[in-house]
Symmetry: none
Subunit: 157 residues, 2 copies
DNA sequence: ACGCCTGTTGCATAATTATACGAAATATGT
DNA sequence: ACATATTTCGTATAATTATGCAACAGGCGT
């Protein structure tokens, strides 16, 4: 069904950077939607998604990603914006990730994470300048941590 | 010069919808900048411009345009962004303005206001979910309050 | 001046994205 | 049910966009 697939697209681009329509088609395939790049192109048009260049920390080889316009700048979600702006450091151990923020903003970051409701995350605790994120399964920690790192480093221009 | 040309690009896309990089190159040519599509592509990357599909009400033949993400609906400054995102309410009396925020983010808002260093503002106090802004002259309060309100009304989320 | 570095650009082409068209599916009316 | 629109989608291809590379330009220290 077109509409459910398009919902899946919105969900995908909100959680990780999607660099091309082919990539998106493959991701959808892994979720059971068999579609071609042509269909993805049409979906993107329907959804009004914007393609924005990424400031990729390293050198050349620019990449892009698709975002929902209307979210300020090119952030894919409110969580993305909050993390890109406020998280200074990100470390993890066993099933815990500790995020450091400027003084006073930890609770804000924690609530943004809660709001996003990632299934791998059991919950968060926000102090003054520290957020503790509890991961359900220690094996999932690297994935979640990587996603945080991505949001931090793949800031739109 | 690259920077002046890029300024011209920003001005062009703000004025009329630009549907392709070739078209943009031609427009620039008419203003005296002789550039190829390749250069335009690089300028667009530098400027972080997003390519968004136009909902062309009528028939098929979709078109696109380039936009400055964040600036159309977006934020002129860090303070703008913070206020748009975090300030839930804004009231004032005599020479004081009270801003209400989500729990835990008041200090963040207060420090953003401090950082902006508006001359009319004597100082701020940030608690948990409340910021107190002290205005120098009660007569200036409506002006400052209006500026907060303006920033608040442009929240894109 | 000379060499060296950094940045900008055009050319040609690779990579990506959009679309015309026909087929299959789905809806709509009779 | 049947015929007729309308929608959706894949294929192939056109259109658009990005980039490797070489050339050139300016800055800077020697």
């Amino acid at each position: 069904m077109k509409t459910t697939r398009q919902r899946a697209i919105l969900s995908l681009i909100a959680t990780r950077p999607v660099h091309s329509q082919e990539e998106l088609a493959h991701m959808l395939e892994q979720q059971g939607y068999e579609v071609t790049q042509a269909t993805v192109s049409r979906d993107i048009k329907d959804l009004g998604l914007a393609k924005v260049p990424l400031r990729n920390g390293n050198g050349n080889g620019t990449q892009f990603k698709y975002v929902e316009p209307g979210l300020g700048k090119g952030y894919a979600s409110r969580l993305h914006r909050v993390i890109a702006e406020l998280v200074r450091d990100c470390r993890g151990s066993v099933n815990q990730i500790v995020l450091r923020t400027p003084p006073g903003s930890a609770m804000l970051v924690a609530s943004a994470i809660d709001e996003a409701a990632w299934p791998e995350i059991l919950g968060t605790l926000g102090g003054d300048d520290t957020v503790l994120v509890i991961i359900e399964d220690p094996a999932k920690l690297p994935v979640v941590k990587q996603r945080f790192e991505d949001m931090r480093s793949e800031d739109p221009l």
